[in-house]
Amino acid sequence: MRTKKSRFITNTVTYAVLIAIFILFTIMINHKTMPRTLKGQLVPICAWIVMAVSLNLVVGISGELSLGHAGFMSIGAFTGIIISGWLLNGFQMENGSLRLVIAIVGAGLVSGIAGALIGIPVLRLRGDYLAIVTLAFGEIIKNLINCLYVAVEGKGLNVGFLNNNVAGTMLLNGPMGAVKVKTISTFTAGFLLVMFTLIIVLNLTNSRSGRAIMAARDNRIAAEATGINITKYKMIAFVTGAFLAGMAGALYGLNMAKLGPTKFSFNESINVLVFVVLGGIGSIPGSIVSAVALTILPEELRFLQENRMLAYAVLLIVVMLLVNNPLMKSLWGRLNPFKKRHKEQEEVIRT
């Protein structure tokens, strides 16, 4: 059990470090000392942080393996692009920031509703069956968006399914995806979204509902016996995760001039899962660190040229083997004073 105090300290440190980094980066951008490659990656990094934290809510806090998280990101991205394009072309809303906020919130809501609809059947299943159904939903979402054509005409939207004959300015063009998107995402918006996500997730986990969610994860039967409505709390975690992933998607989508529906495939879901597992399941700061590190890493490995994904794969396997090596685990336990105390406490409880 972590004490209230240690949790408070961890959370405060997380917020403080993030704010410090944001201020530092803003100053660097203003003084033009930021490396170009890093600058272009700031918004995607924010989006992946939100994705990792929201998936950690589902996988780590609620304990349900989801392999379709990129599906929600996809819904969010294309909803965001449609909303932004609609506001711009239909209502001549030139203010980019306002459009971005409306698009992100709208994308989150649509994705959250989709999460609720998918959650009803999915959360009836357990374990690996649940995982495969989330994978299936992710693929279905990708496939459906691949057949969707949306255009804006006057103040209305024209939607075609499997039918590219829609009048007006194309926003979403089936397998071509969204082209000529006005990029309005900014680093500040990304940072605010990350903070918003953290506030929601950290407050949720420290609340009564959060404790109920974790109780349902740790022991379903015991939790049910104490009167916790399992489905309800798992649903809260799943829908919140989908909502946040949708917002991340909108941020990501509005940062790209061109975005195809196949971008959000099973591989992206897996990538986010890698962030969560490498950062430590259930650890929010861990998810943030690994999302940042693993987004930058493939770029930093560019000097290896075509070997870089090979190096990434080897690194992934080696890290997983080392982290789970009993020898390394005990060594880490000795080096880390917090872990040790934790272990002693456990032994006290056991005896």
């Binding site: 690996d128 299936a136 459906l144 897996i270 490498l278 090979l310 992934l316 396997i317």
Partner: protein, 293 residues
């Protein structure tokens, strides 16, 4: 007639899925892990057969044998190096490692064979047969695929139910601890499972690329996911389930393409999977796990 021809094509595609699904389901049943690298072993097998027949001029049957042996060794090496140190780790850690292995194989293939697609030659020298006065034409490849699938099914069923090793595999899958107490070497059994699964993957590679001749380093991943779906569909861990799931999935996919829409075929396959799992939460032939309090 068109329906019949679609049905035969569906069974043929389904047979390929079934052979791949066997690899997933056996490993899951025994090692309780989702081996996401299985699809990439298929790709390696296909490339080996391609090289053996095209560059080294080896006939198809010995080439298949070489590929099967290499894939078996590859599967066992992967298991020894990457999975067996994680026997006691969480299932998620194993899953991520499997994904790492999958990336590794894809990127190695990309380095060795370049990302340019290779056109897989027609290696199965069986003529098409015509039925009903030429109204129904069945391709040789289709027929061979179905026949090979039936043979594998029969041999594997006999192996699992009659031989000592098969019995050991069933024991380990039921209760690993008890099996160890009975003197069964769990590590060897798991190794054997990977060996069989990988050898089947090489066969699947040949059949897959004979029907869909474009060979790239990511060839294995989509059929891999579909076959994994098929394994879950039939009830993961169950061998007849993998067969049934694979064949049904293939039929649904081909009929979906023929009668509903080409673009939506994947969505249809996955929608059927979801509906089946909602009605039977542990798959068609899976055993429902009873909860003990």
């Amino acid at each position: 007639m068109v329906f019949l021809s679609n049905l035969v094509n569906g069974i043929s595609l389904g047979s390929i899925y079934a052979i791949i699904a066997l690899g997933y389901t056996m490993v899951y049943g025994i090692a309780k892990m989702l081996n996401f690298a299985h699809g990439d072993v298929i790709m390696v097998g296909a490339y080996l057969i391609f090289c053996a027949t095209q560059y080294w001029g080896i006939p198809v049957l010995p080439a298949l044998l070489i590929a099967m042996i290499s894939c078996t060794l590859l599967g066992m090496t992967i298991e020894k190096l990457a999975y067996s140190p994680l026997r006691k780790a969480t299932s998620l850690a194993v899953l991520i490692t499997a994904i790492g292995v999958s990336y590794l194989l894809q990127n190695l293939a990309q380095l060795i064979w370049t990302p340019n697609p290779k056109i897989f030659p027609q290696l199965i020298p069986v003529d098409s047969i015509k039925l009903f006065n030429g109204q129904l034409v069945i391709k040789g490849v289709t027929l061979v695929t179905i026949v090979i699938n039936v043979i594998i099914m029969i041999v594997l069923t006999i192996f699992i139910s009659r031989t000592k090793l098969g019995k050991a595999m069933r024991c380990v899958s039921e209760d690993r601890g008890a099996a160890e107490l009975m003197g069964i070497s769990v590590n060897r059994t798991i190794s054997l499972t990977f060996a069989i699964g990988s050898a089947l993957a090489a066969i699947a590679g040949l059949l897959l690329c004979s029907s869909y001749p474009k060979l790239v380093p990511t060839t294995g991943s989509v059929p891999g996911i579909k076959a994994f779906t098929a394994a879950v569909f039939g009830g993961i861990g169950s061998i007849p389930g993998a067969m049934l799931g694979g064949v049904l999935l293939g039929i649904i996919e081909i009929l979906g393409i023929a009668y509903i829409s080409t673009e939506l075929s994947d969505a249809i396959v996955f929608a059927v999977l979801i509906i089946v799992l909602l009605v039977r939460p542990s798959g068609l032939l899976g055993k429902a796990a009873r909860e003990k309090v």
